[in-house]
């Protein structure tokens, strides 16, 4: 996307200003978004994102700029303005570029640059809509969305790195609204991955519609949730959002290096119940949070974060490695050329255990089964959180009794890690978009169903 000689000229200019490290991140992305409402196409939108991110490092100081233009003069102008207060004699020389193509772990076939497949995507969303409406006459509305993105990147740096990669993302979602004339409730189901529209061969629009409608109907008849400290069983898949938000972010060197994380000095120590092992894995084939290389050009890897309760690794990008001394883990990620990379998660999850679901439920006298989790908020550094339960059930005397609504789980990440006593076998992943200092990046959260012995539940009863 950028001529090698031009990249060489520009990076050499950056080093001539006295930078210790210079990098160009070139990106060209195609996007297509289809939305449906009321069993009709509401909009089809598309665009081409293109830009070049410029990063200069002077000692521990990082400077970042970007442009949509490709002229060497413009890239040099940006470098010059960035380095205005740091100009000094050259410290390092440009290493000759050594091109390396990453190993393709996530092949994609029906990619956006070949065909947007709008008819096929509309048909999928309409089939999901029909399935949801067919499940009950209480389903009053559906909203569908299908987004596809093809991101091509090229990275050059002053250490001789030159590499390229292509990432293809697709995600389809249906939200169903149930109404009985007095109350309304919603349910949602989403499928996605790091692949092309061939995903439609792997997913079933009827299941998407049925599941969205089922959640909405359950919530429509849900009772008020009791509140107080009690054991909670958290469902698989998106239930892993709690680990992601309240623990995963605390393991990123972005917060560890600043000593802003409660885990910054806990390497090698027990930070969780020994039933808990957790990883951040970028290698899982075609999973939503996977990558071939990170946005600094390093090959991705499977990083064991916690093993049998003990902290074994942080998530480390280039800057984080320099600041903390830990080895890089291929975790430097960014939303686009508009952001400098930072240490970020990929597919992050608590590994499956061997507990049975029925054993978890039967071990509880009074508690909650949080089958589906929703959004929430987290205090950076401490991991204090509150998350909404979007599908929940009251447990009494070892049995699931009835659905509850408006439940909230409140605790801290470090506390919850120590309260997880049983982890099930039904491991699954779920797609999400994670927002942080380097923008919103695709990440998967996941876990098997697990039991937390005590957590504060916010409710209305």
């Amino acid at each position: 996307m950028l001529q090698v000689t031009k990249a060489e000229d520009v990076i050499d200019h950056g080093l001539s200003l006295g930078a210790d490290f210079a990098e160009l991140f070139v990106e060209r992305s195609l996007t297509n978004a289809i939305s449906t409402l009321s069993s009709q196409v509401q909009s089809v939108e598309s665009g081409i994102d293109f830009g070049i991110g410029v990063r200069l490092v002077f000692g521990s100081k990082v400077l970042y700029g970007y442009t949509n233009k490709t002229e060497a003069e413009e890239l040099k102008r940006i470098m010059g303005e960035l380095a205005a207060m740091d100009l000094r004699d050259p410290r390092v020389s440009l290493q000759a570029f050594d091109y390396s193509a990453p190993v393709e772990h996530h092949p994609a076939h029906r990619i956006l640059s070949a065909d947007a497949d709008v008819d096929s995507k509309v048909a999928y969303l309409m089939a999901a809509d029909a399935a949801a409406r067919a499940s009950s006459n209480l389903i009053s509305q559906t909203r569908g969305a299908c987004r596809q993105k093809e991101q091509r990147i090229e990275i050059f740096n002053s250490e001789g790195l030159h590499t390229t990669d292509a990432r293809n993302y697709v995600r389809a979602t249906l939200t169903a609204i149930a109404s009985d004339g007095q109350d309304q409730a919603t349910g949602m189901w989403s499928d996605g991955g790091l692949l092309g529209w061939e995903i439609k061969e792997q997913v079933d629009p009827k299941k998407t519609g049925d599941e969205a409608a089922r959640q909405a109907l359950v919530n429509l008849r849900a009772k008020a949730c009791p509140s107080g400290r009690m054991p909670v069983v958290i469902g698989n898949g998106f239930g892993g959002v709690i680990f992601h938000e309240a623990c995963g972010h605390l393991l990123e060197t972005t917060s560890v290096a600043k000593k802003a994380s409660v885990f910054h000095d806990k390497m090698g120590e027990m930070i969780a119940n020994e039933a808990v092992s957790a990883v951040d894995d970028g290698t899982m084939a075609n999973e939503w949070g996977s990558i071939n290389i990170d946005d600094e050009g390093m090959q991705t890897q499977n990083t064991q974060l916690i093993k049998d309760g003990r902290l074994t690794s942080f998530l480390v990008d280039r800057l984080g490695a320099e600041q903390t001394g830990f080895e890089r883990t291929g975790s430097g990620r960014r939303e686009s050329y508009k952001y400098a990379p930072a240490s970020r998660m990929r597919n992050t999850f608590i590994e499956a255990g061997d507990a049975e679901f029925d054993d978890m439920i039967s071990s509880i006298d009074r508690g909650i089964y949080a089958a589906q989790m929703g959004g929430g908020s987290v205090q950076p550094g401490t991991g204090e959180f509150n998350f909404a339960v979007t599908e929940g059930y009251y447990i009494e005397n070892g049995k699931i009794q009835y659905p509850v609504k408006a439940a909230t789980l409140i605790s801290t990440g470090p506390a919850v890690l120590k309260e997880i006593s049983m982890v099930g076998k039904d491991f699954s992943l779920a797609c999400g978009m994670c927002g942080s200092v380097s923008g919103a990046v695709p990440t998967s959260v996941g876990q098997a169903t697990l039991k937390v012995d005590e957590i504060l539940v916010g409710g209305q009863a």
Binding site: V41, S43, S46, G47, I48, N68, I78, E81, V122
Partner: protein, 230 residues
Amino acid sequence: MSIVSQAEQILDRVRAAGAEGDLIIDQGEALSLKAKDGALEEHKVTSSQVFGLRVIKDNRVGTAYSEAADGESLVALVDQALLNASYAAVEAHEKILANALKLETQDAQLSPIDQATVAEKIELALTIEARLAAKPMVKNVPYNGVQDSVGERRVYSTTGLEARSKARMMHCYAYALIESGIRMRWKALARRRGDLLSWIRIAWWTKPIKTPSTSYRARRFPAEVRRHFR
């Protein structure tokens, strides 16, 4: 290829498809500085160029955008907008106005040449934070910054409209955290002036702070500054 030629190429392709349309091309440059504890926390330099196209065909409206300016991308821009329009509902009232005006603003008035260097703007950002942080009862100055941007917008249509406007905007602000809570101490806005440093006077940040119970309000600019907003 010039911007004007690129615009003609895009609109010719729209006409050839039997559609009408209008095109916005935004270009800009920006500098953003933020200070924290006497050092720059943010020093961002950016420039941008984006094409936004709306087409109307058979009373159906479609849009698309491109940040890439190569020929292949601009062809794709038109084709995407036309494809998107084909899935839109009929919208009888959205039209491209029959407007063939040639419009242009005066760069000398709205986008004068900037006399201040980047180093001077950095010094300004650091000084704003330092002066306010040195005040009694001020714990820190968590939100502050100096921003300088130039934006140019061009609008073209298949009916012959050609419009161009370019403007420079400069913006400084600083919020202080006072012992009794967060109070806005100063918010300064400046625009349409070439020489930022000649009239953003650091003295404005040196007025005495009142008691913590006082509700701080942004002060008005001196008269010689206010007239530039009219």
